[in-house]
Amino acid sequence: MNKAIKAEVRAYLRKIRKALPGSFNTKQAVASTLKSQIENYIEDNPDATIDDVIERFGTPETIANEFDVTEFSAEIKKYKLKVLVLSIVSILILSVCIILTVALVEAFNESSFTITDDFDSENDRYNNEVDS
């Protein structure tokens, strides 16, 4: 397969995966089978264009329409819930990291002042002793 048609086939398969309902595994399974059949077709027809591929295999919408969305509604719901939970967990982890970072920076700044204060008071005491 030459580079140009390879890129076009990749884009075509991406559109199919996007159009398909269902989980990642479903999309991958169908796209994977299509990919190997497209490769076979292009090997038999080296001059084939992406339009020829689409004519032979169908548009992404035509292929996706063959899935009955109601059959996948439970799967889609589960998938969306998973994405929502992962998003919430990511936001929580990020928030905790930010809070910890801010707390550490504040703690570091405080300890710097403490050291400086201690040094100043030590210095004053020394000076007083010297003076006296």
Binding site: I16, T33, Y41, G58, E66
Partner: protein, 117 residues
């Protein structure tokens, strides 16, 4: 005409699994072979693109009505053959019976096949 492709799609979804199972009950076939058999046997009335066969094939694999096997053809080409399982054969008989009933019902309502049509 607006909406006709939607209707065609819905009708096709109803019989596509049955056609695929029928062909596989005769012999194991790969995707393109299924498409050409359907085209030839339907006298070019059912001209499907190969890609539309894969969703119902995948669906039937999930339900264990059929299975797939990969065969290397030539040096490195891989061809996927589909094979009907026993549960697929049972399901095919069920589909055929239901489809016949539905067709008979539709024909009666539409008065198709009556001499005064």
């Amino acid at each position: 005409m607006a909406g006709t492709s939607d209707i065609k799609e819905k009708l096709k979804r109803g019989y596509l699994e049955m056609l695929i199972l029928q062909l596989l009950s005769e012999e194991d076939m790969y995707g393109y072979q299924l498409k050409t058999e359907i085209l030839e046997r339907s006298n070019n009335l059912l001209d499907l693109t190969e890609g539309v066969l894969y969703p119902p094939l995948y669906r039937m694999i999930e339900k264990e009505l059929i299975s797939e096997r990969k065969e290397t053809v030539g040096k490195r080409r891989v061809r996927v053959y589909y094979h009907i399982e026993d549960s697929g054969k049972v399901f095919l008989e069920y589909l055929k019976s239901e489809y016949k009933k539905a067709m008979e019902g539709v024909c009666r309502v539409m008065k198709w096949g009556e001499s005064n049509e």
